[in-house]
Symmetry: C3
Subunit: 442 residues, 3 copies
């Protein structure tokens, strides 16, 4: 039996697979009603631990357009979970015979990965807290790809709340992966977080450069724009001149709403950026498509709705063919010729028995009964690790070795020699001692 494929993160798909799925979605989109034999007899279960009508209906529509059946549990938090059942148990039951694929929405980060470990069928992450929402990201990429014919080298403006928007962070990584240039035009105070910029640099070689966005007019008036490009600075100096850093042609403006529930600033709404006909009249935006993950509030004025560049409703509609392609593939009803990702990210056990993840909203903290712990080694030197579920960085004071039962400074040579499956992370010496480790004598 082939291994079960999941879609917990965009990284679960190879770049070639994504492009092949897009080709397939494009076929599906030609006539959405012509594919009702693709998944006939298969059943999708929507397990939603927090409400999200849009996402749920999009998946359920995709499955029905493929001819499959749908089981809906739109209010999981008030039923099974209320009876004290663990996510692991729920997923094992539902994947036993009820459904052939699970679409999971959960408020805790890392929930989808946990579910995938226990499920007997593929799991699709439809949003786990503020962690990932890969199908949303793929739909966004798809719209760019369809409209512009490519992803590499596109110039994409990200506007608004770049700090707290999960959608933006996932989209940024994906754009970098596909070689697009990113122009950040944040609402003041809501810049892209430092850890996102660092990851872009470390994983994709994307460097931030100060951008001159004065041609963008209203849109960038109050904002310090930053240009993130996969081209190395020396390449910039070789092949381009100073004008490149000037934003003079934009392929897309991706607007996002203020995550008011996150920064607790109710007053924000009134001062928040607003995209309108007037803002979109700047010369570099002439052919820029306007995107938005929806729901919008007032950050896009109604006067843009009929503008041919406004594609936010089309973007939402395209979620259906993209999800059709994803579901068909995961259900084994669509075979891709593209190679899958070579290796899955390895999770190492947490040997100390103490959960090192600092994120209190991580599933490793919120799941009481069938908690799993695991970490990813994101860098050997300097030593850096992340929670295997929510991907948040683990704060490391000291490290220990389960074989020697000694602990060492984080950046010591001794620390670097410990095998990952023997590694233990401590906040401080007190914790190390309490867990029965002693200082290395030498």
């Amino acid at each position: 039996m082939p291994r079960i494929r999941n879609l917990v993160s965009v990284d679960d798909l190879s770049t070639a697979e994504i492009l092949e799925l897009f080709q397939r979605a494009k076929e599906y989109a030609k006539d959405l009603r012509a594919w009702s034999n693709v998944c006939r007899g298969r059943i999708l279960a929507s397990l939603f631990y927090e409400p999200s009508t849009r996402t749920r209906l999009s998946f359920e529509s995709a499955m029905q357009r493929l001819g499959g059946g749908v089981l809906t549990a739109a209010e999981m938090s008030s039923s099974s979970a209320a009876k004290g059942e663990s996510l692991a148990d729920t997923v094992r039951v539902v994947s036993g015979a009820y459904a052939d694929l699970i679409v999971l929405r959960h408020p805790s980060e890392g929930a989808a990965r946990l579910a995938a470990e226990f499920a007997l069928v593929p799991v699709v992450n439809a949003g786990d807290g503020s962690h990932e929402h890969p199908t949303q990201t793929l739909c966004d990429l798809y719209t760019l790809w369809i409209e512009k014919g490519r992803l590499e080298g596109l110039d994409v403006v990200l506007a608004g709340d770049l700090r707290y928007s999960r959608t933006i962070h996932s989209f940024v990584y994906a754009l970098a992966r596909f070689g697009a240039n990113i122009v950040c035009v944040p609402h003041r105070g809501l810049e892209l977080p430092e850890y996102v910029v660092r990851r872009l640099r470390e994983e994709h070689g994307t460097e931030p450069v100060r951008a001159d966005a004065s041609d963008l007019g209203d849109l960038a008036r109050e904002s310090d724009a930053v240009y993130l490009t996969p081209n190395k600075p020396h390449q910039l100096s070789l092949f381009t001149d100073a004008r490149v850093l000037r934003v003079d042609r934009v392929d897309a403006v991706y607007m996002t709403r203020a995550q008011t529930e996150r920064h607790g600033d109710a007053d924000m709404a009134s001062r928040y950026m607003r995209l309108s006909q007037s803002a979109m009249s700047a010369a570099p935006l002439k052919e820029a498509i306007v995107m938005h993950p929806l729901p919008r509030r007032d950050e896009i004025a109604a006067d843009l709705d009929d503008d041919p560049r406004s594609l936010y409703f089309t973007q939402a509609a395209r979620g259906v063919p993209v999800r059709m392609a994803i579901l068909a593939m995961l259900l084994g009803c669509l075979e891709l010729s593209a190679e899958p990702v070579e290796h899955e990210e390895r999770l190492f056990p947490v040997e100390s028995g103490v959960n090192p993840c600092p994120n209190t909203n991580c599933i490793t903290h919120t799941e009481k009964r069938h908690q799993r712990l695991g970490y990813k080694l994101t860098s050997r030197d300097p030593l850096r690790a992340a929670c295997g579920y929510c991907a948040q960085e683990i704060p490391i004071g000291l490290v220990g070795c389960t074989t020697t039962r000694h602990f060492h400074p984080r950046d010591s040579a001794a620390a670097r020699k410990i095998r990952p499956d023997h590694l233990v992370f401590f906040r401080d010496e007190q914790q190390a001692l309490a867990l029965g480790f002693s200082a290395a004598t030498r």
Copy 2:
């Protein structure tokens, strides 16, 4: 592409279309399981902003019996709407690719019309506040038509709360349109409202005549019955005698529950009219079928349930074939030979920018983000206008002209000369002045 047909109001269908839909429903009803190819591959989305299990299940059953798929959002008010999304946006997203038809239930009057303006697929009104619920009305007519073989000239008793029941008002207009006679037997104090009677007179020529309902016995004992007939009084005197106004043969009794939540009289329930075997034993009711829109409380005694004249459960069951016919038609899977309504009612823009609709529960007031305004001219002389969404009459103190910027008395000759798309309505002079209009000098 043919224009998108909606069912926001019964008036969206021509009389010939309604009768053809009834014929089709009759075919469907012969074997409900034989039509699963009619809408195969089509998807219906139930968007319910207030709960209504009965109506929702009836539509979803109809769609499934036609072989189509169903997306259910039974708790819209706690999801998308809670995130601040406008109805207009929700409808644009859902109609983009998710669904091929939207069934909408909403607490605000006029919501279905607003939704229809934005949707890319047909919208069916499954109840918008206390405004319209056209499929309910059509199901009621259908039962009369099936049982009595016709609608014209039938004598239909409407009993109970005739004041606050939306169902009754819609049914009354429909009965008048098809030429049926209406015998109002209201619970004391819950008579048919004056504006309903006026509309009956103005649009259908239906005249109220005092009725002698003494033969109806218990049913009409405490009630002042009124007879509403499409026949002009002079015709009554020509072709009939005084006995005609005596209610001596009834085709149907349509009972309705006390809308206790509307008149806030909890005590009402105990004194409310009650239809029982004894009440139905009066001679003129011998062949009268008993109808009720359900749910009932105590206004129909259980001893009537097994009476062959009791058709309320059958009436509910017939909602399925009638809705099947409506869905099949709107989805383009059933072509009618009947001519559609010739012209849609024209909506004129509200030029003042101030919402003249007096109904605080109208969607023009409750929808904050993508509000639309528009009015219908219901009468030129005297000048009368209604909200284009909830149909409630607009109170007119003065009228203005957007070209001359003058205002005039409502019933003046000058007022009558203003073109509808230049007309502005003011409550009073103060409002007119505030909006920059001045008194006509001449």
Copy 3:
């Protein structure tokens, strides 16, 4: 037209039917996706008056795997019921044309029987208060049957809360009916109730014998085990010796969670029995399968999850093929060769007009509008009767005869002569007199 079959109680199916359904379920389970033509065109309605995602999804999956459609009303208590509609009316409407079968979950005991009396289509009881949940019981039996190849003569340990668990009581009766031996290993204080033991004795001849469970080790350490066997004591002495009562080989351990919501002892959870690898290492448990109705909390340790004897998730998964067989049969899409139960249990009218059922959670008390009353005569001598809906025993002080209008002592010869349909039950003389009966003069 053949009479409508319902599944309100396991007793609605004959033993031969159950075994034939199991054979059919086994066929279905070979490839769950191969049966999508069995119920094509049929519609199931899930009417859930209290939430139960697991049960609902299991039924809905079964129906979809058979190719049928599903209507879901997962929150009935907040919709129709809130509008004051009776269960009887709701069921009459839904069964009119909406659905071809109703799956009902309701918090009141006896609700499913009431629904079955009014519905025009088959009703499946998916749990009525703490009364019955027959498909759960059948799934449990099915797992035993599949794993052990038979039911008769099996030794099944029931562990945990045997007092308050509905599932356990239903399972116990079913095991007795199929001739299995039951070893009760209750949590201290949560023994099988006396009335269950009495019914086992009276209906199945099952006798309780003190068991020596010392070989079970940890599992039975704090518990007074009881052995319930369908073999008569004299048979035991004939064919077995004292060692038989020693529990030395167990076929299955059925663990159940503490019904903390029932005995109001929050502290219980921490002291509750816990099944783990260590408990399951006792010699007699070597080939015992581990079962649990789920959801579990902590009563089964995670270390058992990967043990091949652990079948609780498989048991849940098997709910789908078993329910497929049941639905197919009730919908008339699967014809059994087995004979049905010969006669339905007779319900006699309650002539006094006073509801004699002592169970305040019985549907006869909670249903206000279309209440039905009826009783079953469970024993003639001594005179014993049970509520016809919730099956709870009726407390009888005196009995009356509606013909003579006299009352008599419960155990008198006169009482025994009264025909069941003339019988009236009184708590005491005062009630009898108040209802117009007088003491028998002789």
